[in-house]
Symmetry: C2
DNA sequence: CTGAAAGCGCTTACAG
DNA sequence: CTGAAAGCGCTTACAG
């Protein structure tokens, strides 16, 4: 911490140690063709001078930046923050730095691949979380020289990790069905393209499948968009309550939306779960405190998995295609109960 | 998106456009000493070749990386995620990339400044959120050539933005006092050093001041560490309920902790707010859904403010010292009421 | 085991 | 307005 020496270069170290810059470079990076005594001297001098290699120079020479970019749809949201946190932990552990980029809104989405490609020179790999890719974009990414892994969505030729969303949704809906509900609402993400994420429609698929198995007809009135936001879910719930025949249970595809819905239900004077059951997905940290029944997913672990793949491939100079579907569990708490009859 | 050309360099563009690399460099960066016709030709060629400047090379030549690092104590937590999100939005808007680094745990904390300094060559500025600095570390940072801004804490010679935590805490406690409570518990962050953040003790100061003004003696039993986590707060609440004379109100210095406490209170069969009032700070998105009374702070805005300072200074090639204390508001909802007597 | 030298892809005085 | 050339600070064959 002592020296604040503006700019100590490898040359300064070489001079002070009485060796060539090549030797300094080798010694400091731990290459094995360096005499032990030389290495020690170089290390001592480097430490004394408080030398730190300039990564830009190293990158220019080697072509590797030792940083990975994680692009997320909503940097500040719980889900994305978890993924970023999980990824960053393994990356920094492995000696990589992590860059983040938020891709919010349609315009950002449009420019995204272009921007990612531009950054491809300053990044060794890319983790894409919950960003929907068009086929030509998938193609462009696959053709570029950076490795990519996606979380939440899966595309041909790209590594991906995601929960089995269809099963997750069926688990939730079956739970409600088992309790005796038949009028089950779905609060989903985006109603339709262009930002609509795969997660949303996969969970809807699960919802539809679960109902179909029990011969329950789909009622379009019970499908409401909540846009993955609390506000959106609150409005969706308001619409559901205004129905001639409101649902007796609601499945929201995120815990935050489930909590938003619960708030609205209670404000309307109805009780959860006695009059309306609510179930979410995530197992958000506060869900436990409000007793929300949910389907757990562990986004931090997903981020860590993707980061691990990338780091391993980078270290081995390989480029494998990995895919992983992670398990989900139903966590029954106090917001679900049989319908009151 | 067409070309996946592994490596188009400035030289390729120069050759194709029939000019020198110097001219390409000037034209593409919009410098003004370039003939309009030349610029157009160069731009056309660059676009056709899908050329993107290698940032590492630019950085080596200019010394600037156009990226800023934001270091946070808990990347995955709501508060930090908000700050990062707010900062990233203004940074990317201004053409900067953002790196993140989690500094969790004591070991990471120890190595932190060293690491930040090492990264100082690949970063133009640093935003430090809720990381406690020792005087010599502050000194080292101030002496380095990167600009730094801190959020949550303030240090001599470094720019900082933070809420007026003392007032925030007083606002919360006064609210409880005004309702008639006198036995008010505090669930704080870390009980003591080394990771204890300034926020925690500032809010405790506010708590103590508010009580002192009303001549209410401090009861050490009512002070419990919640470690800024839900689990921690739940345990703290359990200890409070086990007291011979439990509190009639609790002030938790974060909403998540407040919600954790609420859960425990309700599980114990007591009602909120009838038997025990609860107030938090943050205005976390789900707080609204559970009706939690709180003191609002806007971490995303703080991140944006700090980022804006840095970007402006960088653009103007200045290095100003900014400080800002942001306003906080009391949001009264349904978890606070007069004590039952 | 070590050094001299070329090269990575830009930017920026310096001439013209 | 434009070009030739030096330089940014590393790494890596290539010799020895």
């Amino acid at each position: 911490m002592a020296d604040i020496s503006g700019h100590v270069t490898i040359e300064d170290v070489a001079r002070a140690a009485g060796v060539s810059v090549a030797t300094v470079s080798r010694a400091l990076r731990g290459l094995d063709n360096v005499a032990q005594s030389t290495r020690e001297k170089v290390e001592a001098v480097a430490a004394e001078l408080d030398y730190r290699a300039n990564p830009a120079a190293a990158q220019l020479a080697t072509g590797s930046s030792r940083t990975v970019l994680v692009s997320v749809s909503n940097l500040a949201g719980w889900y994305c923050a978890q993924v970023v946190g999980g990824a960053e932990a393994v990356l920094s552990e492995a000696g990589y730095e992590t860059k983040v980029m938020g891709v919010a809104g349609v315009e950002a989405r449009q420019a995204f691949v272009e921007q990612a490609l531009r950054m491809s020179k300053s990044v060794d790999a890319l983790i894409l979380v919950d960003i929907r890719l068009e086929p030509d974009e998938t193609e462009a990414l696959r053709g570029s020289d950076i490795r990519v892994a996606t979380i939440g969505n899966a595309y041909p030729g790209l590594s991906s990790v995601r929960p089995d969303d269809i099963s997750a949704a069926r688990l939730a809906v079956d739970h409600l069905l088992d309790l005796g509900h038949t009028r089950i609402a779905l609060i989903e993400g985006m109603p339709e393209d262009p930002m609509r994420t795969e997660v949303s429609w996969r969970r809807r698929d699960g919802y539809e499948q679960a109902l179909a198995r029990r011969q329950i007809a789909l009622d379009p009135d019970l499908l409401q968009a909540g846009y993955f936001s609390i506000d959106g879910a609150q409005e969706a719930m308001l619409r559901l309550l205004a129905l001639d025949e409101p649902p007796t249970a609601v499945f929201a595809i995120s815990d935050e939306m489930a909590m938003g819905a619960m708030g609205v239900i209670r404000e309307s004077g109805r009780s959860v779960p006695n009059e309306i059951s609510v179930i979410g997905v995530d197992d958000h940290p506060v869900s436990q405190t409000v007793g929300l029944t949910t389907v757990r997913q562990a986004p931090a672990a997903n981020g860590a998995i993707a980061a691990r793949w990338l780091v391993d491939d980078l270290a081995a100079d390989e480029c494998n295609l990995y895919t992983r579907e992670v398990e989900i569990d139903l966590i029954v708490r106090e917001t679900t109960a049989p319908p009151c009859s």
